[in-house]
C-alpha cells in the first residue's frame, strides 16, 4: 500500500484532533455543569470521521447521525456556529432550533443530521441521485453505526443505491454497540461489510483505528463513487469508548472490553505514525494548542450569544408566502 502523502496525513491528524478536542471540551463543560444538553460522545471514533471527511471535497454532501460531531467539525462547520447550535443559541447553525441531534450546515455540505437510527441512508441516496441527475460531480457520504445496519431503511437504501449506481459512500462506523446492546448480541454475522456482496456492491472492511488503513480505504471509496462506478459500503471497525450518550450508564460494557478499547485507542496510534513520518512533538502539540484556542474562543462566543427569540417557534414551519 502506498504511503499516505505527508500533507494529507497532516490534514487527517489536524481533523482528528479537532474532533477529539471538541469532544473533550464538551465533556468538560458538561462535567462542570456549564452546559446541560444531550451529547453523544465520539471518543474512540475521531479518526474514522476525520479520515472520511479528509477524503471528500469541500462541496461533497454528508449525512450523519446524532453521534455526528466528528463528521460535522471535521468537514469544517465554523466552530462558533457549531457550538452556538449545541448550546441552543441564535448564532447556531440552525438558530438553536435543531440542537445537537440536528446540526445542519449546507455551506459545508452537512445536509442532514438525523436523530433516527438508519434514516440517513435513504436521504443520502436522494442527495446522490440529485448529483447523478444534474451531473454536479459531487459524492455523498452517509455515516451510521452498526446498529443502523439492522433497520429496514439500510436494506432498501443499499439495494436502490446499487441499482442506480449512485455516487454514494455508506460509512458504517462499527463501534461495537447499538445503543446499549453489544454488536454480537444484535447481529450474528461477523461483520456488516460482507452484506455489500448481497447487493452486488463493493464492500470494504478496515481497521478504523489505523490511519494507514482507514484513510486509503476512504480515498478508494470516494474515487470509486465519483468515477460513476457506483456505491461503496465501508465498514470501519472502531470503538465507542464512552456510554451511548454523556452521563448514561455504561456498566453494561465489561471491563475487559474497556481494556481492549484502550489498547486500540486511535489517538496514540496516530501520534506514533505521525512521529514515524518525521513530524515533531512540537509541531503536533502546536496543532492541538491552536485547535484548543479556537475551540475556547468558539465556546466563549456561544456562551455569550443571545438565545433565539421566542417567535422562532412559529418560523420555518412552512415557507412564508404571505
Amino acid at each position: 500500500m502506498a504511503e499516505i502523502e505527508r500533507d494529507k496525513l497532516l490534514d487527517v491528524y489536524t481533523r482528528t484532533m479537532k474532533v477529539n478536542r471538541t469532544d473533550e471540551k464538551f465533556r468538560a463543560l458538561l462535567m462542570e455543569g456549564k452546559v446541560a444538553v444531550m451529547y453523544y460522545c465520539v471518543r474512540g471514533q475521531e479518526l474514522v470521521s476525520a479520515a472520511a471527511m479528509a477524503a471528500l471535497d469541500k462541496d461533497d454532501y454528508v449525512v450523519c447521525t446524532y453521534r455526528g460531531q466528528g463528521e460535522q467539525t471535521a468537514k469544517g462547520i465554523p466552530l462558533e456556529k457549531w457550538w452556538g447550535e449545541c448550546l441552543g443559541k441564535e448564532t447556531g447553525t440552525c438558530k438553536g432550533k435543531g440542537g445537537t441531534m440536528h446540526i445542519t450546515d449546507p455551506d459545508t455540505g452537512i445536509m442532514v443530521t438525523t436523530g433516527v437510527v438508519g434514516s440517513g441512508l435513504p436521504i443520502a441516496n436522494g442527495l446522490a441521485m440529485a448529483s447523478q441527475n444534474n451531473g454536479d460531480g459531487k459524492v455523498t457520504l452517509v455515516s451510521f453505526g452498526d446498529g443502523a445496519a439492522n433497520i429496514g431503511g439500510f436494506h432498501e437504501a443499499m439495494n436502490m443505491a446499487q441499482l442506480y449506481k449512485l455516487p454514494i459512500i455508506f460509512l458504517c462506523q462499527n463501534n461495537r454497540y447499538g445503543e446499549h446492546t453489544k454488536f454480537t448480541d444484535h447481529t450474528d454475522s461477523p461483520d456488516i461489510s460482507s452484506r455489500a456482496a448481497g447487493y452486488g456492491m463493493k464492500g470494504l472492511k478496515v481497521d478504523g483505528n489505523n490511519v494507514n488503513e482507514v484513510y486509503p480505504a476512504m480515498e478508494e471509496a470516494v474515487e470509486h463513487a465519483r468515477s460513476g462506478k457506483g456505491p461503496v459500503l465501508v465498514e470501519a471497525m472502531c470503538y465507542r469508548m464512552m456510554g451511548h450518550f454523556f452521563g448514561s450508564d455504561f456498566s453494561y460494557m465489561p471491563p475487559e472490553h474497556l481494556e481492549e478499547m484502550a489498547k486500540e485507542d486511535p489517538l496514540p496510534k496516530l501520534r506514533k505514525v505521525m512521529l514515524e513520518r518525521q513530524f515533531t512533538e512540537e509541531e503536533l502539540d502546536g496543532i492541538v494548542a491552536k485547535i484548543d484556542a479556537e475551540i475556547d474562543a468558539a465556546v466563549e462566543h456561544a456562551l455569550a450569544a443571545d438565545l433565539p427569540s421566542t417567535d422562532e417557534i412559529y418560523k420555518d414551519v412552512l415557507e412564508d408566502v404571505s
Binding site: 454532501y61 449525512v63 447556531g92 447553525t93 440552525c94 438558530k95 438553536g96 432550533k97 435543531g98 440536528h102 445542519t104 450546515d105 449546507p106 445536509m111 442532514v112 438525523t114 436523530g115 433516527v116 434514516s119 441512508l121 435513504p122 436521504i123 443520502a124 441516496n125 436522494g126 442527495l127 446522490a128 441521485m129 440529485a130 448529483s131 447523478q132 441527475n133 444534474n134 455523498t140 429496514g152 431503511g153 432498501e156 437504501a157 439495494n159 436502490m160 441499482l163 442506480y164 422562532e312 418560523k315 420555518d316 414551519v317 412552512l318 415557507e319
Partner: protein, 328 residues
C-alpha cells in the same frame, strides 16, 4: 374546449412541469413506460419523453423512495414521488414525518424540502382493509406539510402544478374513483393555489365542508335539497391542511350552520378539527350544533354491500342537513 379526465390532467401537469424545469423528476414503483407508465397510468409516456433517470422506476421500497425524494429536494431538485396506495405510507412514515416535514424547521430554514408525494386511495373499489383508507388526518396533524386532494380534473391539473411549485412537502391524495371524472381542460400553466378552498355551490341555509370524492356526493345532495327549498353551500377545501379557514368561516358566518363530510373515519378526523374551529370562531352566528359525517370506525370491508354500507351515506347526509336546518 376539450374535456380531460383527472388521469390526463395529472399527466399533463407533471409533463409540463418536467418540460419547464430539469429539476422535476418522478420516482416510484412501476412509473416508467417499461412497466406501463404507472399502475394508474399517471406517468404514462413520460419516461419515453424524459428518460429513465427522470422517471425512475423503483424497487418496492417505500422508505427508500420517500427518503430519496427528501434528499433530492434538499439538493435543490423537485421530486415527485409516488406511494402507490395510501395505506403504504405506514411503512415510510419516518421519512415523511420526521424528515420531510421537519427539516426546514430543524435547520432554521436552511433546508426546505420541496417535494410532492402522490398517493392513491378510495373506498368503493373492493380493495379491502389495506388498500382503501383515507389517512389525511395523520398528515394534517404534522406541522410542515401541505395536504392536498382534488375533486375534479381541472383542479387536479392546477393543484398538481401548484404542488410542484411549492417549496415544502405536499401530500397529494388522489381518489381512485375520481380518475375518470372529466372537466373542461383549463389549459397549460393552470394553477390552483394551495390553501384556497372553492365554493363549489353557493347556498344560504347551511355550509357543507368537504373535499375529494365526497364533494360529488355533497353536490348531488345539495341539488336535490334545492328542490325542497333547502339551500346548501358546498365548500371544496382542495387543500386539507393548512386549510382555507377564511373561506370556511365566512361561509358559516353567512349560513349559521355547518356539517363536515369526509370519507375518512369520523373519530379524530379532519372534520373534528374544522368543527371545533367553527364553534370557537363562529359561535355568535351559529344556529345549530356543527355536525360531522365520516366513514364507519372500522377497517374498510371487502364484500360490496358491506363496503357500500361503510361509506358515508347520502341518505344520512340529507337527514343531518334537514335536522340541522330544523326540517328533519
Amino acid at each position: 374546449m376539450a374535456q380531460i379526465t383527472m388521469t390526463q390532467a395529472l399527466n399533463l401537469a407533471i409533463d409540463e412541469a418536467m418540460a419547464e424545469d430539469d429539476g422535476v423528476f418522478c420516482l416510484g414503483e412501476d412509473v416508467s413506460d417499461k412497466q406501463g407508465g404507472g399502475v394508474f397510468k399517471i406517468t404514462n409516456g413520460l419516461s419515453k419523453k424524459y428518460g429513465e433517470n427522470r422517471i425512475r422506476a423503483t424497487p418496492i421500497s417505500e422508505t427508500a423512495i420517500v427518503g430519496a425524494a427528501v434528499g433530492a429536494a434538499l439538493a435543490g431538485q423537485r421530486p415527485i414521488c409516488e406511494i402507490m396506495l395510501m395505506n403504504f405510507v405506514g411503512v415510510c412514515m419516518d421519512q415523511i414525518v420526521n424528515h420531510a416535514a421537519k427539516l426546514r424547521f430543524m435547520s432554521g430554514g436552511q433546508t426546505p424540502c420541496p417535494m410532492v408525494l402522490r398517493t392513491t386511495t378510495g373506498v368503493g373499489v373492493g380493495f379491502g382493509g389495506q388498500h382503501s383508507d383515507m389517512l389525511e388526518a395523520w398528515f394534517a396533524h404534522v406541522a410542515g406539510i401541505h395536504v392536498v386532494t382534488p375533486s375534479n380534473a381541472a383542479d387536479a391539473r392546477g393543484l398538481m402544478r401548484a404542488s410542484i411549485d411549492a417549496n415544502d412537502p405536499v401530500i397529494f391524495i388522489e381518489n381512485i374513483l375520481c380518475y375518470g371524472l372529466q372537466s373542461e381542460d383549463p389549459g397549460p400553466g393552470y394553477r390552483v393555489p394551495l390553501g384556497k378552498a372553492a365554493v363549489a355551490k353557493e347556498g344560504t341555509d347551511i355550509s357543507l365542508i368537504t373535499y375529494g370524492r365526497t364533494v360529488l356526493d355533497a353536490l348531488e345532495v345539495a341539488g336535490e335539497l334545492d328542490k325542497e327549498g333547502i339551500s346548501v353551500e358546498v365548500i371544496d377545501l382542495r387543500t386539507i391542511a393548512p386549510y382555507d379557514e377564511a373561506t370556511v368561516l365566512a361561509s358559516v358566518n353567512k349560513t349559521g350552520r355547518a356539517i363536515t363530510l369526509h370519507e375518512a373515519v369520523r373519530p379524530f378526523g379532519t372534520g373534528a378539527e374544522i368543527a371545533a374551529n367553527i364553534q370557537e370562531k363562529c359561535w355568535d352566528n351559529l344556529k345549530a350544533p356543527v355536525r360531522r359525517i365520516g366513514g364507519t370506525f372500522s377497517a374498510v370491508p371487502f364484500a360490496t354491500h358491506l363496503e357500500q354500507a361503510w361509506i358515508p351515506q347520502k341518505a344520512d347526509l340529507v337527514a343531518q342537513i334537514k335536522a340541522s336546518v330544523g326540517k328533519g
